[in-house]
Symmetry: C2
Subunit: 470 residues, 2 copies
């Protein structure tokens, strides 16, 4: 289904002209309309065509965001929140034009409550910035998508990453957030209490809403104590199936694994060549354990026993930070190594997530599909969650390659949904996956649309995203 | 503020008569209108006056729930979902009359996916029923509110309990649910994938919505592996402050405590007398650790060191199940022992939750309030979450006692909210706490109301609950 069948966002030229005039006057240098600035504030990370906003505002505060949204609301002009632009499904495109709200100047860490293991940050703070700031407190924020994304953007797309198997996702790690709603008023969705039964869960409604219900301006996040000790290692397996069985056994035994990453044979080949490793070209699990000095040894030893039961090994592991870094180096370089599989190609990263009992099947069928379609597309997965990524290497200037990739992505998404999974574990719907929302949610889409219409009756908040027309 | 200022639910006599006639005809013995049945399907657990439904339906399936809701929707008659009636804030009252939907016949366990650590159950399955069923699988469902509540009811009120510090709450443990919405259509909110970024989080919107948005008919829940070993014990402290500091240190050190329950001095006195214990009458922490054989010893030893640092002790602990049961017996009998503090009185249980850095202050101020107001009201808390319960012992036939208790509850809720906490950590809003929702959520209440109006434009889903008129 073409995107044009899924959305109908029209440009309101008169309103846009009025808003651009007002914001120029009001924000001066902090409102940009030149083409370069607008281009980097549109979608840039895949082959989804860029759709530029008409202007980019750089507010300093929630009050300024309220002012921008009120101005846009008065003239029925779209508002598109922008973090660092690392999203992968066209979330920051402006199909009806409008104003991009760049949160990069809203990058203050407002409060760290060490006793409560939480902090409050402005939406433009990045995860690396936060963790650098926290270093002396003995605390850290565990959610780590690949990019050094902003925390506001991570909340908006319900991001996660390699640590989610232990520390869960943005859904569970945002205690509260402040957002400017479509009418220009802001709300704080919850208190700092760890749990509450007081009314509808507006926090979780906004987490994952991709800017379509409100502009997140600050967040209160759960923090974790930096573990006393960490162990980690790498284990090859004779097959994907064996690796996945080992993952299931590890989780069923209650081993609190912090990371358990699956890398398929093609990705291993790339990593072996690129990072000069002495591993076999077979599926591998990269694991990490967090705990006490004794605990991380016990966990690693137990994991070693499990892997052996499923024919895996040798499981090489260590508690020494430098050696761990060496073992994990290849995993961290996975993206760059992948690109060497087809020099000059661009990587299109897509993700799905299935119950872990179906992970081996889903990856195996996907590998067969890749072979059949003649694609080059390595796979890495957050195996503990049943979530995996396929990086399709393509030449975006060749329409036939894009068509073939779209066909592949469609089959992948339908496969994941048919296995009781989801069309996206952590990337979000944006524009790219709108065509699969109805297949996954059925009539649930209608209730999503009722909520959208109730909270944003003019459809100015990041229009043309998430919810398809039918 | 009186409840009548907060809600305006009028009886639709004509519609009710029509629906009662239709449902009698359709469901026969599975639709009851006698006064006794209606009375037990109204609020029975506190001094909030009972408001009886006009009839109680006992559907066998989701399809039958759809039929009942469609019938009620056609005649604008309220629908009030009912689990076992253990909720504490008037959730199951029928201020405008209408039909109680009793889910007790919908008590089938539909699926257990051991490899995925999840199960799907009908809404009327109770937590004890589920855990009995799971016993042979090596898995368990950790959420344990005091009562043997239904899982549908627990989801509807966003329940938790003693294990939440480690296993979190219903919010995080419901993977997906099926609910019949106000128009009689049902939706399944998510797949069985552990995580998803696909669209608005309808699961979390329905969890905690107390039947005001839909009738939950089945749920897919996360399960946990039964731990290899458990250790547990009891530690007295010289003061509340010292006990709370020990809780904070335990959590900051990353000890994965499974339960950490705070009992105040008055509650300890009741427990000592009732359960014939040899403990001092001072605040105590009851703790439990889950993990490997070595892990639970290490955790208990570390906890012992922490308690000593804060002047606590002796910390008596054990890995032996029978001895643990003996140590914890008093905690499990807390409710019954409380009642002996004022024989013949009824217990009114209320709850708030604050950031743990404020827990000691909040409890100390509450104890001072109790003394000043001349109440008898012991306190137990899920200290790791900052959540605590006060059980006010009162004679519900004496209006002055009710008034004094309401005044106390009001002060307690305002205190918790002023300390960046919530007016309810796990009981819900129902009717009893509607007066505090605006104080806690400010303009957020307006957006909750927009959602309610969009999804239930006739206001037939458990009307007069959660969202106040202004």
């Amino acid at each position: 289904m073409a995107l044009t069948d899924l959305v109908a966002v029209r440009r309101n030229e008169e309103g846009i002209a009025a808003v651009v005039g007002i914001l120029k006057q009001r924000f001066g240098e902090r409102f940009q309309t030149n083409a370069d600035v607008r281009a980097v504030h549109s979608h840039t990370t895949t082959y989804i065509p860029a759709q530029l906003p008409d202007g980019v505002a750089f507010p300093d505060s929630r009050e300024e965001v309220e002012e921008i949204v009120r101005t846009c609301a008065a003239h029925r002009v779209p508002v598109i929140p922008f973090g660092i632009g690392s999203s992968l499904e066209g979330h920051v495109n402006a199909p009806g034009g409008g104003i991009s709200i760049d949160t990069s100047r809203m990058n203050r860490i407002l409060d760290v409550h060490a006793d409560d293991l939480d902090c409050t940050v402005e939406a433009g703070v990045t995860r690396e910035q936060l963790n650098s700031y926290l270093r002396d407190t003995g605390l850290f924020f565990p959610i780590d998508p690949g990019a050094n994304a902003t925390l506001g953007g991570m909340a908006a797309t319900r991001a996660s990453g390699t640590n989610a198997v232990r520390y869960l996702t943005m859904r569970e790690n945002v205690l509260s957030l402040t957002a400017v709603m479509a009418d220009g008023r802001s709300i704080t969705t919850a208190s700092r209490a760890r749990k509450s039964s007081a009314g509808y869960d507006l926090t979780r409604l906004l987490v994952g809403s991709e800017g379509t219900l409100g502009v997140i301006t600050s967040l209160t996040l759960k923090l974790q104590g930096i573990p006393q000790a960490i162990s980690g290692g790498v284990c090859p397996f004779p097959s994907l199936e064996a690796a996945c069985r080992a993952v299931i056994a590890t989780i069923q035994m209650g081993i609190p694994v912090a990371r358990i990453e699956l890398v398929n044979a093609l990705q291993m080949r790339a990593m072996i060549n690129y990072s000069k490793l002495d591993y076999p070209e077979s599926p591998c699990l990269f694991v990490e354990f967090h705990g006490s000095e004794a605990g991380v040894v016990e966990q690693a030893e137990l994991f070693g026993e499990i892997t052996a039961e499923y024919g895996g090994g040798p499981f090489l592991w260590t508690k020494v930070a430098e050696e761990r870094a060496k073992l994990w180096k290849a995993r961290h370089e996975a993206y760059w190594s992948s690109l060497t599989l087809r020099p000059g190609a661009k990587g299109l990263s897509t993700d799905v997530c299935v119950p872990i009992s179906r992970l081996a099947d889903c990856i195996a069928e996907t590998e067969a599909d890749i072979a059949e379609m003649g694609l080059i597309a390595p796979i890495v997965g957050h195996a503990g969650d049943g979530n995996f990524h396929v990086l399709v290497l393509l030449d975006p200037d060749v329409p036939a390659e894009i068509a073939r990739t779209e066909e592949f992505v469609g089959r992948l998404n339908r496969r994941a949904i048919s296995m009781e999974g989801t069309c996206t574990g952590e990337h979000g719907i944006g524009q790219g996956k709108m065509g699969f929302l109805r297949l996954e949610h059925g009539d649930g889409v209608d209730y999503m649309r009722m909520i959208k219409q109730a909270l944003d009756p003019q459809d100015i908040m990041n229009p043309g995203k998430i919810i398809p027309l039918s």
